[in-house]
Structure formats: C-alpha cells, structure tokens
C-alpha cells in the first residue's frame, strides 16, 4: 500500500454537534460510548470499497479528520487549525438539527477550510461573506450531515427538514439527517448509506481519476502523485 495514496476528508462543525460520534460510527460501525471534547484533531480511517459490485472494485482507506473547536474562537486556535486544512479531498459539514446557530456557522466553517486551500486559482472570497457561486464550481465535494435527528419533536420535523434542504442547496451538496447513537440510520441499503457511498466514491474519483491540469493548480502535490499512483492501480 503506497504511502502516497492519501484520501483526506475533513469533518467540520461546531463544538458539540457530534462529529466525534459520527466519525466513530462511520469508521468502526459502532456507537461511541463516551464522547468527550476533541482537543486539536482526531483522525480515523474508513475502508471504502470503490465501485462496489463491479469488477473494478478496490478498497481505499479514507482518512476522516475530525477537527475540533468553534468558529468564534481565538485567532491563535484558528491559525493552528489551519495546519490541518492542507490538501483536502472532501469536506463533511456537520450541524446539530436542534440548534439553528450550528447550521448558520457552517458557512463560516466552509469558508475557513476552503480559504486555507486557496492558492492562485483557489476560491476567491469577498471579505469573508458567503458567496453562492463559489460553491457551485467548488472542486472539493461536500456532504451535509445533520445530527441529533431523534431529538426533534415530530411537529417540528417538517420545518427542520425544509431548512436543511435550503442549506444543502446553498452548498450544492447532498444531505443526510441521522442520530449518531443509532447505527440503524446508516444500515446497508438505506438511502443514507447510498448517499454516503456516493459521496466517498466521488471523493475518490476526484482524487485519483480526474487529471485535468487546468483545475486546482493549488494541489500541486496531488498532480505529481496522480501519475505515480496509476501504476499501483
């Protein structure tokens, strides 16, 4: 297994939305028993079968980087966090369905992560404001996950779902709503599992199989490795 084969997906979101539980569920297929505050960044690895069921099936190991903290924290923490945003292949944005502010903060999170990646042809930001066009042609695939789905009372469910639908339109991303303490939501065959698989497949595809030199010149190291890794396939 070449050490240059790296697929890196960031898991971003406010403090306490359930990123660590989510990552644990995605990677170990088990519920996290004792969630505690994430200091810095915790990484976990998920085995993903690319093109499952076809003869070209191959197992990739996707790294999920769960970066802790809040958007409004000290700038020293922000600049340290920026170290983790290098050469990202996909972003999972996590928000808490019971807390509207966490969904609003997702715009700031995505800007923070994508700004770090910006190099000469990267995303252009107009003084920190959210700009929808930059997400339409965004090279990095996004996935929106809403947690604590079970804690919404039934009468509020529709309102919450419409809100998240708007959110996923804004980000041009798929959305999944689940409860991190219940593996049933991601059981094989559910639409959530299908969306998840599709997202990871898209990430792997963009990482390995698109070699358009006009795109993303910021990820110069990826371009070099892309050719090498083809031989290992």
């Amino acid at each position: 297994m070449a050490s240059l084969d790296r697929v890196k997906v960031l898991v971003l979101g406010d403090s306490g939305v359930g990123k660590s539980s989510l990552v644990h569920l995605l990677c170990q297929n088990q519920v996290l028993g004792n969630p505690s505050w994430t200091v810095g960044c915790s990484v976990d690895v998920r085995a993903q079968d690319y093109k499952e069921g076809t003869p070209e099936e191959k197992t990739y190991y996707i790294e999920l980087w769960d970066v802790g903290g809040s958007v409004g924290c000290a700038s020293s923490i922000k600049s340290t966090r920026a170290v983790f945003y290098n050469s990202v292949n996909g972003i999972i944005l996590v928000h808490d369905l019971t807390n509207k502010k966490s969904s609003q903060n997702l715009y700031r999170w995505s800007l923070e992560a994508l700004n770090k990646d910006s190099s000469p042809t990267g995303v252009i930001v107009s003084n920190g404001d959210y700009d929808r066009e930059q997400f339409a042609e965004n090279p990095v695939p996004l996935l929106l996950i809403g947690t604590k789905f079970d804690q919404i009372p039934d009468n509020k469910r529709n309102e919450v779902l419409t809100r998240t639908a708007f959110l996923s339109e804004d980000f041009n991303a798929e959305e999944i709503n689940l409860d991190c303490t219940n593996p049933r939501y991601l059981a094989a065959g559910t639409s959530n599992a299908v969306k998840l698989s599709r997202f990871f497949d898209k990430v792997i595809e963009k990482r390995y199989f698109t070699r358009d030199p006009s795109q993303m010149t910021g990820f110069t190291d990826r371009k070099r490795f892309n050719f090498k890794s083809l031989h290992y396939d």
Binding site: M1, S15, G40, A47, T80, K100
Partner: protein, 383 residues
C-alpha cells in the same frame, strides 16, 4: 411633581440596563447556542438591570442629584426586588434546572427543586451565625438579616475578585512575562504535529486492514468445521488480536502526543500574537497601565499586611496620601477630600471591573469547554 420626574428617569434607566443585559446575554454569553428557555435570559437581564440601578443610585447619592425622598423610595424598592430575586428566584431556578437534568428525578421536579432551595436557605441562614447580626431592635425575619448575609457573601466575593485581579492583570498585560517566539519555532512544531498525525493514520490503516482480513478470514473459517478448523482459528486470531492491541496502544499514545503538540502550538501562536499586540500603541498603553496597577496592588497588599501585623487601623489610603503630598509640596490648590474620594473610588472601580472582566472571560472559557451531552446551558446562564 419632582418625584414623578425622578421616577421616570429611574425607570428609563432601568429599561436601558435591562436591554443592555439582554443584548450582552445574547451576543457574548450565548453566541453560538440557541436560547431555548427565555426565563433564564429574563432573570439575567432583570438582575443586571437592578444591580446597575443600585450602582446608579449610589452615584446619585454622592453627586447629590435627584430629591432625597424619591432616592430613598427607589433605594428601598430596588433593595427589596434585588433581595427577592437573589434569594428566592435564582436559587430556585438553579435547583430546578439541575434537578431536571438528572434523569432519575424527572417525576417530582418541583418537589426536589423546593428541597434544594430549602437546603440552600438553611446554609444561607447558618452563614450569619458567626457574625453579630441579630440585634434587639429588629426582629428575626426582617430585611436586615437578609441584607447582612448577602453583604457578607458579597464582600468575600469582592475580596476574592480583587485578589484575583491583582495577580491576573499584570500577568496579562505586562510584556515582561512574554517569551520570545519566532516563526520557525511555530513551523517546527506544526511539522511535528502533522508528522504525528501521519503516524496515527498509518497505524490506524494497519489496524483497519488487519481487521478486514481477519473478518474475511473469519468468514472463510466459519465454513471450516471440525476439530482442526477450530484449532487453526484459535492460533491465528490470537496473534492477530495481540498485534491489534499493541498497535492500538501505540495509537493511543500517539493521539495523546498529538493533543499535547496541538496545545503547545496554540500556546505559541497566542504568545506570538501577544508580542505583536504589545508592539502596537494600544499594547504599549496597556503595558504601562499594567505596571502602574501592579505597583498599586502590591502597595495595597503591603499596607494591608502591615496593618494586620501591627494591629493598626489604616487612617488614609495611598491615593489620599499621594494627593496630600502633592498639595503640600507642589502647592496645587484643590479640594483634597472631594477629589480623593472620587479618585480612589474610580481606581478601585477600575480594578474591580477589570478583575470581573477577567473572571467572566475565564468563566466563559470554562463553560464553553464541556460539550458533552449533559451540559446544561440554562444552568450556566443562571450561574
């Protein structure tokens, strides 16, 4: 007529303070969270408004504004309301929210909240025993009892706060304590951090691969029945799982290391920012203030120790002495008593405000920290 005017003035100022407290609550304390129970916000704003009104009344007292009748009336009104809120409402709600968080006691929430409140009242009452509060002029259930107890707690808290402020203030502002941090230090640390993360990832990949192989082999082995198959399965899984637990231990150690490195990097970045800030004009100004206040605090501590040791009652405080000296030696003419009172009042106020600010910042950092499921936002707001 003047009473009405004064009341209107007081009322508008109270409403202003209430609005300010509301905004502060929304913007600063609960910036990233939704407020689900508005009771907490209301109680907070009410307490804030009435405390500010008390402060305002004291200032009016010193300045001599408004007629004394209306001042007296408002003072009493204020006092009653604050005592009511402080002693009855807030502890009750704190008890209520704490109890509602504990899942066992969900049924009898109110009952347990009342029990908690009675315990609080008992300790509150006991607090007054060592002090000579009970006097024959006033009965036992009078307002003086409550005020004196609140006063005891308040004075202790103030002393603690000013002590905290005296130490925290110079440490935060003075550049004497700043180490020298260069960019290359930070870059080196960041590189180490990323290397540690890479090591964690490669180990986790090995664990995942081994587990996957074991799982697949396990499936094949389920097909193998019989004695021989069972022995084979025992030996292979044993080495496999031993290997796994070893790697898992290494991963845990590496994760701890990565956390430490991250915290160190954050620390260095913060120091670097402080160094940059201290070079600006504002930074220099705060540095100077830091020196000034630290000398003042040290002097106060010194005088307090001498007074306690030599059992001497301090007649005048340093500010008054300083002003007396200037009047005597420099011949500047101004009313000593009037100004000294104001200046020392202002100085003490500044120290208390900065220490409260420092304490509140530390508190909000502490309260923002635990984000596990059992954090109770309303309790934090009430506290």
């Amino acid at each position: 007529m003047s009473f009405l005017v004064d009341s209107v003035i007081m009322f508008t100022s109270q409403v202003l303070f209430f609005g300010f407290g509301w905004l502060f609550f929304m913007r600063q304390l609960f910036k990233d969270y939704e407020v689900r129970q508005y009771v907490v916000q209301v109680v907070f704003s009410v307490t804030f408004a009435f405390s500010c009104t008390m402060f305002e009344l004291i200032i009016f007292e010193i300045l001599g504004a408004l007629s004394s009748n209306s001042r007296y009336f408002h003072w009493k009104l204020n006092l009653y309301v604050i005592l009511l809120v402080l002693i009855f409402v807030v502890p009750f709600y704190i008890g209520y929210f704490v109890v509602s968080n504990i899942r066992l006691l969900q049924r009898q929430k109110l009952l347990f909240a009342c029990m908690v409140w009675f315990t609080f009242m008992y300790f509150f009452w006991k607090l007054g025993d060592p002090f000579p509060i009970l006097s024959p002029k006033h009965g036992i259930l009078s307002i003086e009892q409550l005020i004196s107890r609140v006063g005891v707690i308040g004075v202790t808290l103030m002393a603690l706060l000013s002590g905290f402020g005296a130490v925290n203030c110079p440490y935060t502002y003075m550049s004497y304590f700043l180490r020298n941090v260069t960019d290359s230090d930070i870059l080196a640390l960041e590189r180490r951090l990323l290397q540690t993360m890479d090591m964690i990832i490669s180990k986790k990949k090995r664990i995942a691969m081994t587990r996957r192989q074991m799982y697949q082999r396990g499936e094949d082995q389920n097909k193998q029945t019989g004695f021989w198959g069972m022995i084979k399965s025992v030996t292979s899984t044993q080495t496999g799982s031993e290997n796994l637990s070893l790697i898992q231990q290494e991963v845990d150690a590496l994760e701890e290391l990565s956390r430490q490195l991250f915290l160190e990097t954050v620390d260095l970045q913060a120091t670097k920012e402080r160094i940059e800030y201290s070079k600006t004009f504002q930074g220099k100004y705060f540095n100077f203030l830091g020196y000034f206040f630290s000398i003042y605090c040290v002097w106060k501590i010194f005088m307090a120790t001498i007074n306690i040791v030599f059992d001497r009652v301090g007649k005048t405080d340093p500010v008054t002495r300083g002003i007396e000296i200037t009047v005597n030696y420099l011949g500047i003419q101004f009313d000593v008593k009037f100004w000294s009172q104001h200046i020392s009042f202002i100085l003490v106020g500044i120290i208390i405000v900065t220490s409260i600010r420092g304490l509140l910042i530390t508190l909000t950092k502490l309260l923002r920290n635990p984000s596990d499921r059992h954090t109770n936002r309303p309790t934090n707001g009430l506290l």
